[in-house]
């Protein structure tokens, strides 16, 4: 089984985060070779050839994003470690267990992009990963991997670790940049995109922790080798955070292309207590839900998109037959209403209204018109309820709150009606 990101942490669970172990297991060798003999453009070419797609949720090709970087200087690289999507906990493991892999990726990427200052933005609720990363950054400075004239190459790079303050929206790249600048964590209007006008209004690449953690392997083994792993459009390995009503929840680094059935019943060990599967969220709380009919759909970025959902940040949340779908939808909607930055009207007002109506239905005070009302409120946030979603909002957080509504309206209409007519949840 191919593993790229988790080999070291599995082999050396006690000290995979230390510089000593990292170097012992071949760490920073790629960096030495690259700084000694590779031109920055050659690294960019390898990343493009790898067809690595971003692991933060949007699945945008990494090399293409790098190509958008505007020529002016200074320019910045920002690592998005604000992993806050409910059900997502893969970056936590990468930060906590193999921070030097990320740092080596940062140095290689910064060298490739002509960046001399990189930032690692870690969610505030991740104190241990943040401490580990901070310690690793200090070790890297001490060993000459960071700072001035890295390994005698003449290349300089500063890395700053920054902790978020507890807002989900700061995982959205422009809100993250605002937060990093000390402003309110509110998404910016795009364009301009960060690659043109990002941090401090300078060209900025924002990449996810997992994305950049892949860079040392890609540079070391060549983009073509990475492109040879997995099906077209979903190259390489991918970290999935599997949670919910499965027997073996956890993070799994897998090669994409298997069916969902193989993933949930194989890696996940099946549903708890031998219960029946009811639904699952295939790619984080923002994603429309899948049900039994999707079990034989291949687990790839494009196959999931074809079925009107997304692989997103790789968070798979499984719900068994005992789960109330209204309650589950309410739980997700409540999260987005709580995490709305409040900047734009449809998200601020609409998400809360959705929550209020769902709360009423769940409490047994629903009306026959409420499901249509929920859908029409949703339509005013995400016109047409299409996929990928159109939006009246500034950023996709508003449409994210719509996903559970369309999911229950599509697959669990009867269960909603049972709440309305039965004065509450039929499951008790």
């Amino acid at each position: 089984m191919t593993q790229i990101l988790t080999t070291r942490m599995e082999a050396h669970p006690s000290d995979s985060h230390t510089l000593g172990r990292y170097e012992d297991t071949g760490g920073y060798a790629v960096l030495r070779t690259a700084l000694a003999g590779m031109q920055p453009d050659a690294i960019v070419a390898e990343v493009k050839a790898s067809n690595l797609r971003g692991r933060g949720g949007a699945n945008f090709p990494c090399g293409v994003k790098w190509g958008f970087l505007a020529p002016s200087r200074p320019r910045y690289l920002v690592i998005n470690g604000d992993e806050s999507e409910p059900g997502t906990f893969k970056d936590r493991q990468l930060l906590e267990r193999d921070p030097h892999q990320l740092i080596e990726g940062i140095i290689l990427s910064a060298y490739a992009l002509g960046v001399h200052h990189a930032f690692i933005y870690i969610r505030g609720e991740y104190p241990r990963p943040a401490r580990r990363v901070q310690r690793a950054v200090e070790e890297a400075y001490g060993a000459g991997y960071l700072g001035r004239d890295i390994l005698g190459s003449g290349f300089d790079l500063e890395v700053t670790v920054h902790l978020g303050a507890g807002a989900y929206i700061c995982g959205e790249e422009t809100a993250l940049l605002n937060s990093l600048e000390g402003r309110r964590g509110e998404p910016r209007i795009k364009p301009p995109f960060p690659a043109v006008e990002g941090l401090y209004a300078k060209p900025t690449i924002v990449n996810n922790v997992e994305t950049i953690s892949n860079i040392p392997w890609i540079v070391g083994n060549g983009g073509a080798a990475y492109d040879a792993i997995g099906p077209e459009g979903s190259r390489g390995t991918r970290m999935f955070s599997l949670s919910g009503h499965v027997n073996q929840p956890g993070n799994y680094e897998v090669v994409m292309g298997m069916t969902w059935r193989d993933f949930i019943y194989g890696y996940g060990g099946g549903i708890r207590h031998g219960n029946a599967l009811k639904a699952w969220i295939p790619g984080g709380a923002s994603a429309p839900w899948f049900v039994e009919e999707h079990l034989d759909t291949p687990l790839t970025i494009d196959d999931v998109a074809k079925n009107r959902s997304m692989l997103g940040s790789g968070a798979v949340v499984v719900m068994d037959e005992t789960t109330c779908m209204v309650k589950a939808a309410l739980r997700v909607v409540r999260f987005f209403a709580h995490e709305s930055c409040g900047q734009c009207t449809p998200c601020r007002e609409g998400a809360t209204w959705l929550q209020q109506v769902l709360t009423r239905i769940e409490a047994g005070a629903g009306r026959d018109i409420d499901l249509d009302l929920l859908l029409d409120i949703s339509d005013n946030i995400s016109p047409g309820l299409a996929w990928p979603p159109a939006m009246t909002t500034i950023c996709p957080l508003g449409p994210s709150a719509v996903s559970p509504i369309t999911s229950i309206a599509t697959y669990f209409k009867d269960e909603v009606a049972a709440h309305v007519h039965g004065g509450g949840c039929p499951l008790g």
């Binding site: 709305s340 930055c341 409040g342 009207t345 601020r348 998400a351 016109p383």
Partner: protein, 796 residues
Amino acid sequence: MAEQPTLVTITVDGKPAQVPAGTLLIEAVKAAGVHIPHFCYHPRMKPVGMCRMCLIEVEGPRGMLLTTSCTTPVADGMAVHTESDTVKKAQEGVLEFLLLNHPLDCPVCDRGGECPLQDQTMACGPGESRMVEEKRHYPKPIPISDLVLLDRERCILCARCTRFSDEISGDPLIEFKGRGNAVEVNTFPDEPFASYFSGNTVQICPVGALTATPYRFRARPWDLEAVESTCPHCSVGCRISVQSSRNQVLRFMGVDNGPTNQGWLCDKGRFGFEYLGSPQRLAAPLIRNADGVLQEAAWSDALDLVAERLGALAAGGPDVVAGLGGARGTNEEAFAFGKFLRETLGTNNLDAQLGDGLDARLLAGITARGTIDDLERARTVLVWAPDLKEELPVLYLRVRRAATELGARLIVVHPRETGLDPVAAHTIRYRPGAGTELLRRLADGSGDLAEARRALGEGPVVAIVGRPGAGDDPRLAEAVLAFAAGLPGATLLPVTRRSNVYGAADMGLDPGLLPGRVAAPAGTGGRDAAGIIEGLIAGEVAGLVLLGADPVADYLEPARAAAALEAASFTVAIGLFLDESAAMADVVLPALGFAEVEGTVTNLEGRVQKVNRLLPGPAGARPTHEILEDIARRMGGSIGAASAEALAAEMAATAPAYAGITWEALSWGEGRRGIVAPGPAGSQPLVHAPEDHAPPPVGRNLVLHLARVLYDQGTLTQAGPSLAKLARPAAAHVHPEDATRFGIPAGATVRVTGSGGSVELPTVFDPSLVAGTVYLPLHCGASIGAGLEITMEAVS
């Protein structure tokens, strides 16, 4: 002439339209005649796309894209749809969202009837609410300053107020807090919204979330009568709408005049209308009786007495009578005053200023005179002047805009920190009295001034120059202007505060000037304000006419002014209030004031603008020109003031710089923005040469920096309750080093003694001063004269 904008062709709802390039879609579509509803967008602020009301569809390579028209730049060939079903649904949806938590308390909301939320709900909104849940609740309203109340239930979170405070006025005291459904606008704890510009947020609030205490519950907008006019509070000349109900002015609203105020007002201007309706307004003539008490009298008796006494004195020679004032009214009144003094009384002793401004010849006739709008194109801006935020607040906004939005490099020279310092590239401090030496060093670019000097070498340069403090020699300003005139592409704005002082100078209210920016013939003679006051004390001048002037309060040596009025054998005061000087007069004549008379005024650029009449004024008060004409007639003459309009016509016909600037021309179309009177007439060029100026040497004694603050003890400020309470008591601002040197603990009381007296004041440590300098606010109830050298001692 404005440059012709480049046009691009777009399609709006299927119809082709030519619209200006480089604009946002919302403006481009407006130019094509289609209004797009919006709340957060404001043409004078950066777009944020937050309210989402202005969503329209734009045809793109991947089909129709729903986008906010306030954030999307127009491009040639764009096809936009503003009325498609998708757009209508989205707009109706946004309005429904906005109304979910809106209290709909329109019947008791000041904004009701002129509310964008009401209007756009009518036009684009849903007919009824589908929400059955409870709305969001907040205590309502809460005061966030002495002038502004905040109702968070009404707020639709458009960020106009927060952006104004942050981007435009530079005092971000209101901010968003919380997130999601709990976002609210609020102030920080213990930091009220004490901005000089807070009223603008009330005006631009698209709902009734921000209301102003002076207007709250006073009127319904449909009951208001309104007339466009020009703010009477300083020489910037902001365009306003004066609005009244039942003959009471209830509010001033900013009118967006591009070349001057761009829609903004300062709070002193906005809320400074209350004096007009003050019960203290003079409503009948007063004559000092045999017991020495001012007593109400009939107009005929008062006018007879004035004519008789002035006539008798004037017969004694041209130097025996004098006139002060005329800088607060209209040009027509100033013109009439000049004619009355020169033609009826035969004197050339006249001055519209009280020795606290600049040479009137400079105000009227400086070459290379700039406009405020030159700031839009300036590369470098030099401000060696009063603290503009305190004295000419909307000019401060324009300079701030140049420095923050337009990339101009700003150099501020002042004895202490000013409002512009936070956005200045270079702040240069000096000790009052040492300005000439500083100017020499700046011109040479020596030492730490090299960078600033280099910036001044990059034009176009706009130089805003005045007297930073009352104690500064006015000739320093002239020397600075002479230096600035030599800078590349330089335009000059000599600044002084009193509202129509430029108009008064243009109307010849100065011994050296005749109406229309014409120099008086050499050897004309005549006394200026200082000459008149000293002449009265010396007994060489005996009769005095005051027109809206209060030298006892406003002259920089108040004690000398009081002595002068004491010594005068006859004084008549024409004005609105029984101020300190009027209280010493023999006859007091009540005049009509702002919004009660029609006329023109001239701002610091030389821009002539119309002021209009909306109110009758107090029953016993009369227009100034009528009062002067009646006195003249009783003395056997006439100033030809049949009406203010007749005076205006005479000015337009006879005053060279005002040729053709008629009321008619100022009342329509582009003329409503005002007409900048051209420079001195070619036949009689007036180039005022600065004189050499050597400041008195300053030893180890302290020097005084005496400068105005926005809210002071001035008559018009104190006559309105809203502004009166904003005036702060005076304090002596002392440099911490001096405090140590003089053994003054923090907060201690000191006795400060200057050229005109001695006062005891609490101290404030002010490290922004140059050591050896003490700053006192002018007209704040602590007068010690304006002489440079002072002494200070701690009071136990």
